[in-house]
């Protein structure tokens, strides 16, 4: 990332506009955001939410790659569209409204399909976000981001259910927290995380408050490996396994079938579900029958409130890693929109 950019002080206007968020993540993080170049693949319902969030917050530059035409049902999930948009290219009809959100952000709109881009094209970006991708497409973009050492976020939704996958390859974060009764220890703290340094300091306004500055190294896995090896065996006890949302094995089942398409039959889903529960270590009898029916009906269906939650979470994490504020998501989220269950799995 372009963190060594010399021109990193913010103007008085920028400070006034971004006042409320600078108070949260500081001037340095805001300045770093201004130099970040982000690629978003596909402007569907989640893509729309992400675009809104990161353009408002003052990202340096955003490129959107999307070759889709607007279908009538998109009008019910994407707020940059209007009834005149149907049949036209999404990017053609949304450009003006996106630009209007924040004139300070450098925007590029490209109506090419991302698979037709030369691999080197992706080198220019500090971060890539893929939305509404098939499993094969995720494999493809993930291999490119690994080649060029670019952080990747992938997310998608199936009606009331959604997932986020994160691959930051290797990432160092600094978390600050009030010191507990026991000091935080250096060493491997979980599957993918290792604490490498802990520094204590005292609050400048209140010397009774002692904080710890914890430096953590996060290791990530490629999507292909997560899909092939993800398991909850040994991580959850029986009660926790019982409480786990049926959306978890169903999401994995769907990702395993949907190599190139979103069209999946109920019987296909049921078949793969067995494999998925096996691998995850979730007893198949724990999977709610109604959920299977529901999930199957809602495969690939966009829903605005779900997009708002997922788009918000991805944008927030992206802002976090640019500001190096706190530990990022590591590495898989599955959201259940009926119970609002949203666990983070370290696969």
């Amino acid at each position: 990332m372009n963190q060594d950019n010399k021109n990193s002080t913010l103007s008085a206007d920028e400070i006034a506009l971004y006042d409320r968020q600078i108070r949260l993540w500081g001037m340095a993080a805001q300045a770093r955001m201004r130099h970040a170049k982000v690629l978003l693949i596909n402007l569907g319902s989640i893509g729309t939410e992400i675009t809104k969030n990161i353009v408002l917050s003052g990202i340096g530059s955003l490129t959107i790659l999307d070759d889709h035409e607007v279908e009538e049902n998109n009008l019910g999930t994407q707020f940059f569209l209007d009834s005149e948009s149907v049949g036209k290219l999404r990017l053609d009809v949304t450009q003006a409204r996106i630009k209007d959100l924040n004139p300070r952000v450098k925007l590029e709109f490209d109506t090419a399909n991302f698979k037709n881009k030369d691999e080197k094209y992706f080198k220019q970006f500090d971060l890539v976000i893929g939305t509404e991708l098939t499993t094969n497409e995720i494999f493809y973009i993930n291999s490119i981001t690994r080649n060029f050492n670019i952080p990747l976020y992938v997310c998608g939704s199936n009606g009331l259910f959604a997932y986020i996958f994160v691959d930051l390859i290797k990432f160092e974060s600094v978390d600050e927290k009030l010191k507990g009764t026991r000091p935080t220890e250096v060493g491997k703290s979980s599957n993918n995380k290792e604490i490498v340094d802990v520094v204590m300091y005292t609050d400048e306004d209140d010397d009774k408050k002692i904080y710890e500055k914890i430096k953590t190294v996060h290791n990530y896995k490629m999507f292909r490996d997560v899909l092939a090896t993800a398991t909850l065996k040994g991580k959850l006890n029986r009660r926790q396994l019982k409480r786990i949302s049926s959306a978890v094995p169903l999401t994995f089942a769907a990702l395993n079938i949907a190599k190139d398409t979103c069209e999946i039959s109920l019987s296909q889903l049921q078949e793969t579900l067995e494999k998925a529960t096996d691998q995850l270590g979730v007893p198949i009898e724990n999977v709610n029958k109604d959920y299977i029916q529901q999930f199957s009906n809602q495969l690939g269906v966009e829903f605005a409130p779900v997009a708002a939650v997922i788009g918000g979470a991805v944008s927030q994490d992206l802002i976090n890693i640019l500001g190096k504020r706190t530990s990022p998501i590591n590495n898989f989220i599955i959201f259940d929109g009926t119970t609002l269950d949203m666990p983070i799995f370290e696969f």
Binding site: S57, E72, L75, D82, Q293, A304, G312, L340, I344
Partner: protein, 642 residues
């Protein structure tokens, strides 16, 4: 695949028709409100009505995505409605006004809706709407954000916890003596500069003539019992009047007198109060007055051009620079006062902000406290709650999703037998640093707290009455009616909750013959009725009666009591009864109590003077909900200092 194809796949055709005929009330068009409006439209609710009392400010634009630069100063509700028209297939209506104004929003107006969404930024309004929802039995989707923290809580009256079932953090307060005499944190100096100094000098305050005595003749509370200190505070106050006169005179050559008084003379006097500095328990740090030399030096520079550092709002300036800026800005404000007559502190009015910050910093320097940049101080002085787009988007998404289950519109997640405690609330977990393995925490809704004075300890109802009847109905008539209808005794006490005014009780019948109108009971008034226990230690449950005046009624004698049952309940102990059933009754006279400074003043302008919010009765509710960390707020109007 029509525009509603996705929603129909999720809720089913039948429920979709219910969505199309639902009428939503959305209160607040700020950070969460903008997001909610978008989500509710895309769910395709039939009608959405939006209420907000605010206008758009530059600092809203980083998250309130419906507003643009050229919308600044326009009304939020109306602008928001216009901004969403291109993707809306719902009927949208905007209202500009305070939701607590009973004239604009009487209770029968609320009853037109199917569900209420709160997207509010302050505690009094949240509590008010919560009570309205309890009166009407209407579901309420409560939500809030503060920085990375956010929560949603569906409230189904009488079935799940209400907003007031859990204790909410109240604004932080400071003892007056800390502010006036012994500050030890930057915030103490800012409060001094803003609440005492600025108001005294520039805000059109009538000089307090009876400063030493309360209206009831008792001695004023000075926040200390140390006589020397009281003496000093009295003298200091009278000297402040002298300073006011300098400001009104608009004589720039006398600004030096202001500096000398505030930062030399007052400090020297403070040092003479030995108790403050010798008592080791207090551990107060002795102040050092500013040197006359610096003051004189800076005074000579006052007409020179600004040094470049005055443009760097995120840097902490030196003490010399603070003093120079103080002189210059005082002059600017004095000039403005000639035409404006009175200037209110406003965090977005740079002159007032710079005055408060430099005065606070000079005082900090004197007391050995770290000085702060304009940027950092603005947060403290302006009660700013940091706010970002992402948290608002997540919370609004959750709130609108959850409302579908509250309205029982998800065909695969139907509520069995109206068991609303199967629904979940949610609050941010990862972003709030509570957990690394949950993005949200989503406990099931709890049943109402049996100790809650808002939802459990009282029954609620609406008393419908014509304008004419209000004038003829005597208090004793009402008492007799209540006794006949609900089984109360005739010695019930009646309290007007607007100001906790006692209208009647077992040994107070002076007002019996007055009409409700004469007692200043009007549309939106809420009466609190409670009874004495009987010989079997039983008592009829207390009641809150909302007075709904039907102005258009043709029946001049209209009076309609709510059709509710008021049960007899067992009195547990005298103490607990005192604790929970009776709101605190105060005398009518407003006291000049100055013992604490409540940093909550920016909320006040939102109230309509003669229409104060429903009383907050008691808050001695000890079932603290640790999970809802604090009442989070999106906008800028409540202080919450951690």
């Amino acid at each position: 695949m029509g525009r509603h194809a996705n929603v129909i796949k999720i809720v089913g055709e039948e429920n979709f028709q219910k969505i199309r005929t639902s009428k939503i009330l959305l209160i607040g068009a700020g950070g969460i409100g903008s997001e909610l409006l978008k989500d509710l439209i895309l769910i395709s609710f039939g009608e959405i009505h939006l209420v907000d009392l605010d206008t758009i400010d530059l600092s809203n634009l980083n998250r309130q995505f419906l507003f643009r630069h050229n919308d600044i100063k326009k009304a939020k509700s109306d602008t928001a409605i216009k901004a969403v028209s291109h993707f809306s297939d719902s009927k949208l209506v905007s209202f500009f006004g305070n939701i607590m104004n009973t004239e604009q929003f009487p209770i029968h107006w609320f009853s037109n809706y199917d569900i209420i969404f709160n997207a509010l930024d302050n505690l009094p309004a949240r509590r008010y709407v919560n009570k309205i929802s309890q009166f009407l039995g209407m579901p309420l989707m409560e939500s809030g954000t503060s920085g990375f923290d956010g929560y949603i809580q569906p409230i189904i009256p009488s079935l799940t916890e209400c907003f007031d079932c859990t204790k909410k953090e109240t604004p932080k307060t400071f003892p007056v003596c800390t502010i006036r005499s012994t500050p030890n944190q930057p915030i103490h100096c800012i409060v001094w500069a803003k609440n005492f100094l600025f108001n005294q000098l520039f805000t059109n305050q009538q000089t307090e003539n009876s400063d030493n005595e309360k209206s009831d003749g008792s001695e004023k509370d000075w926040g200390t019992t140390d006589e020397k200190e009281i003496e000093r505070i009295k003298q200091e106050t009278s000297e402040l009047v002298d300073l006011q006169n300098i400001v009104i005179e608009n004589n720039p050559n006398k600004i030096i007198n202001i500096l000398e008084k505030l930062f030399i003379n007052d400090i020297e006097k403070l040092l003479l109060i030995e108790n403050l500095w010798t008592n080791t328990n207090l551990n107060n740090k002795k102040p050092t007055p500013i040197s006359r030399k610096i003051i004189n030096q800076m005074t000579t520079k006052k007409d020179e051009q600004d040094p470049p550092i005055f443009k760097q709002l995120d840097k902490t300036w030196s003490i010399d620079e603070q003093i120079l800026k103080f002189i210059k800005i005082t002059q600017t404000l004095m000039n403005r006062l000639q035409t404006e007559k009175s200037i209110e502190f406003d965090k977005d009015d740079n002159d007032t902000l710079e005055f408060v910050v430099t005065a606070a910093n000079i005082r900090s320097y004197i007391f050995g406290i770290q000085m702060k940049s304009i940027f950092d101080s603005k947060q403290l002085a302006g009660n700013i709650i940091p706010a970002i787009a992402t948290t608002n988007a997540i919370i609004a998404g959750l709130s609108s999703l959850s409302s579908l289950r509250v309205l029982n519109l998800l065909k695969y997640a139907e509520l069995k037998d109206g068991k609303f405690t199967d629904l979940n609330m949610a609050f941010t977990s990862k972003a709030s640093n509570f957990s690394q393995d949950r993005y949200l925490t989503n406990p099931k809704l709890a049943t109402p707290s049996c100790k809650c004075s808002v939802c459990s300890m009282v029954v609620r109802g609406i008393l419908k009455v014509s304008t004419e009847k209000l004038k003829t109905l005597k208090l004793i008539d009402l008492i007799t009616l209540l006794s006949k209808t609900y089984g109360y005794t005739l010695s019930i006490s009646v309290i007007d909750t607007k100001d906790q005014r006692l209208l009647a009780d077992f040994d107070f019948d002076d007002l019996y013959e007055k009409s409700l109108h004469d007692l200043q009971i009007s549309d939106g008034s809420i009466l609190f009725i409670s009874d004495e226990e009987d010989e079997n230690d039983m008592v009829r449950k207390s009641m809150e009666l909302y007075i709904d005046v039907d102005k258009d009624s043709t029946a001049t004698n209209l009076i309609e009591l709510p059709k509710i049952d008021v049960p007899l309940i067992t009195v547990v102990t005298e103490a607990s009864k005192e604790d929970i059933t009776k709101p605190e009754i105060t005398k009518l006279t407003t006291s000049g109590d100055e013992a604490i400074v409540i940093l909550d003043d920016t909320e006040e302008p939102h109230h309509v003077d003669n229409k104060r919010p429903i009383s907050e009765s008691d808050d001695k509710n000890d079932s603290v909900h640790k999970k809802v960390k604090k009442v989070a707020d999106d906008d800028d109007d409540v202080i919450e200092l951690d």
